[in-house]
């Protein structure tokens, strides 16, 4: 089903790398053996591998330069690099000079090396996909989680903050970020309290997704709404809270009343035949969010339509 993971081995030691190549093949990986340092970058950029193994025992400084080069590019910084050292050489290595993700000393225990490769892949996936602001999993993880939820007794719920843009414009980015972090914490805590099997993700901006069992979905939504209402008390002054709105100017510079922050949640049950793929879930969620936002008040809306 899935393609073999591609592992690039950068080494000047041809005997060593061909042995390593055979072993990697035996473990179900597809090895790419790179000896000519001059062409390494081109190959990596042109056809990126999944993991890089860099043999730093020979010609280490040249290989270090290469690693620095491609890790310096934000796209390739996600590529995990495992360094191979001579025993004890790691003690004198200047880690800040070369952005390695992990290392192993030669000669090595092959099963440990195998685990290191798998671990480095897992770690990169975890770190990279997480939203830097809220530390919640991002779109790749969200899509995976939703695909796994299809057809089961689960609900995929989309959260969106009402009137977030004017709040951000009026009170500034740092306060806006604070609101996003608060929503993330409220959601993730409520999902965790609802028991095992839940998922919380941050699509980006003021859009969040969580997955819980269908049975608990409405109570989780209600708790999130309640908790958000309590938290809003820390975000506005007494006057604004009493009035239920704040003054802000729109793009044309006209002063107007903006309602306090609220949230809208669209709840999409996954156990219906119409939920066949991720795209369908995204489509239905967009429709449901329109319903949920109509009133302008904090609320949740459950999709009960059969088709």
């Amino acid at each position: 089903m899935t393609q073999k993971l591609r592992i690039a081995v950068i080494s000047k030691d041809r005997d060593f790398s061909s042995q390593l190549g055979l072993w990697l093949e035996g473990k179900g990986f597809q090895p790419i053996l790179l000896h000519e340092l001059g062409s390494v970058l081109g190959i990596i950029y042109g056809d990126p591998p999944d993991v890089v193994i860099a043999d730093l025992r020979h010609g280490g400084s040249e290989i270090q330069d290469l690693i620095r080069d491609f890790k310096g590019d934000s796209y390739f910084s996600m590529l995990p690099v495992i360094g191979i050292f001579e025993e004890n050489a790691d003690e004198t290595f200047t880690w800040s000079d070369c952005p390695l993700d992990d290392f192993i000393t030669h000669p090595f225990n092959h099963s440990v090396f195998f685990s290191r490769i798998n671990l480095s892949l897992q770690r990169i996936e975890r770190v990279l996909d997480n939203n830097p602001l809220t530390k919640l999993p991002g779109n790749t993880s969200i899509q995976n989680a939703i695909e796994k939820a299809l057809g089961r007794d689960l609900a995929v719920c989309y959260i969106d903050i009402n009137n977030f843009k004017p709040y951000n414009d009026t009170y500034g980015f740092s306060h806006g970020d604070e609101v996003l972090r608060m929503v993330a914490r409220i959601m993730a805590n409520c999902v965790r309290d609802a028991g095992p099997g839940g998922f919380s993700g941050h699509v980006g901006g003021d859009d969040f997704v969580f997955i819980v069992t269908l049975e608990k979905a409405e109570s989780v939504c209600q708790t999130i709404l309640d908790h958000f209402r309590i938290i809003v008390s820390d975000l506005f002054g007494e006057e604004e809270k009493a009035r239920g709105s704040y003054r802000a100017s729109d793009r044309q510079g006209n002063e107007q009343n903006i309602p306090l922050l609220g949230i809208a949640i669209a709840v999409i049950p996954m156990n219906t035949p119409k939920m066949t793929h991720f795209g369908k879930v995204a489509e239905v969620s967009a429709e449901m969010k329109k319903f949920a936002k109509k009133s302008g008040e904090s609320c949740y809306v459950v999709d009960r339509r059969k088709t």
Partner: protein, 287 residues
């Protein structure tokens, strides 16, 4: 004398945690075992203890979570941290070694002040009642620092109060060149607590100095005086200060109103006493 102030400040810088009454931890342990324990139940127990409350507020206002100086109530802290985090925080707390009279007395005094502040704020229909109660609960946190981190000084203080018939506040200034209000302020600042809580802690004996939180500071001051006058708990001395004119005027108090507050407070303190006895007996059985 400057050295003493510097010493206390450096002690505070290294203070990440303070011990909690064993009974409070026992109560939270039993809540933690109950998987359905809600935010409200947890908040009620946490709000009974000045040390645990300060610790929860410290964590949620720490730069790690990105809400520095923003969260001022226990329920908001619980919503943002999550029940699990607070449970673990409580369970990993160290406990007061000895359940001596002064420790329990100070705990009761803080609890009583929180209750009194709640009554006053509610009767005056002030906004942010929970913040005011939290500020009152925490107003003597500086005394916990003195008791725990400056142990030998604390013994001298107690001796000084007895010998010279001084108030705790005077004795502190004499011996430490700083009083518990100032020490509490240092702790609150070093723990990134919100300004709404810092001023009432810092100026509850000198309401006039409050600039942005005058009303909250005034309520905490009055609550402190009323609880001392009621004889509930023990805050270090038996001296009952007068309500400061600036607080009296700012809150628009009068004799009749004060009588109503005292009446309601007396009732509530009976409940507090029962709760305190329960906490003490839980502490005895679990330790």
């Amino acid at each position: 004398m400057d050295n003493k102030r510097a010493e206390i400040r450096s002690i505070i810088k290294d203070t990440k945690s303070l011990p909690t009454l064993p009974g409070v931890i026992a109560k939270l342990t039993s809540l933690a075992e109950n998987s359905k324990a809600s935010v409200n139940e947890m908040a009620r127990v946490v709000s009974s203890d000045q040390v645990l409350s300060a610790k929860v507020l410290r964590l949620v206002n720490s730069p790690f979570y990105g809400f520095s100086g923003r969260v001022s109530t226990i329920s908001n802290a619980l919503i943002l941290l999550g029940v699990n985090v607070v449970k673990s925080l409580a369970l990993s707390s160290s406990i007061f070694e000895m359940m001596e009279k002064n420790t329990v007395g100070l705990w009761e005094h803080s609890l009583g002040a929180g209750v009194a502040a709640n009554i006053i704020a509610r009767k005056l229909e002030l906004p942010e009642i929970e913040e005011i109660s939290t500020a009152a609960l925490l107003h003597d946190i500086g005394k916990v620092i003195i008791k725990i981190k400056l142990e030998s000084d604390y013994d001298h203080l107690i001796a000084l109060i007895k010998e010279k018939d001084m108030s705790m506040l005077e004795a502190e200034k004499d011996l430490l060149d700083a009083d518990h209000a100032e020490i509490g302020e240092w702790l609150a600042r070093s723990w990134f607590l919100p300004e709404k809580l810092i001023e009432p802690i810092a100026f509850h004996h000198d309401v006039e100095r409050a600039s942005t939180q005058l009303v909250k500071t005034a309520v905490v001051h009055v609550a402190d005086v009323l609880v001392k006058a009621s004889g509930f708990g023990f805050s270090g001395d038996d001296y009952v200060p007068r309500i400061q004119a600036v607080a009296w005027n700012k809150l628009g108090l009068n004799e009749i109103f004060l009588e109503e507050i005292v009446g309601e407070l007396e009732d509530k303190l009976v409940d507090c006493k029962n709760f305190s006895l329960e906490i003490q007996s839980e502490g005895d059985t679990k330790t």
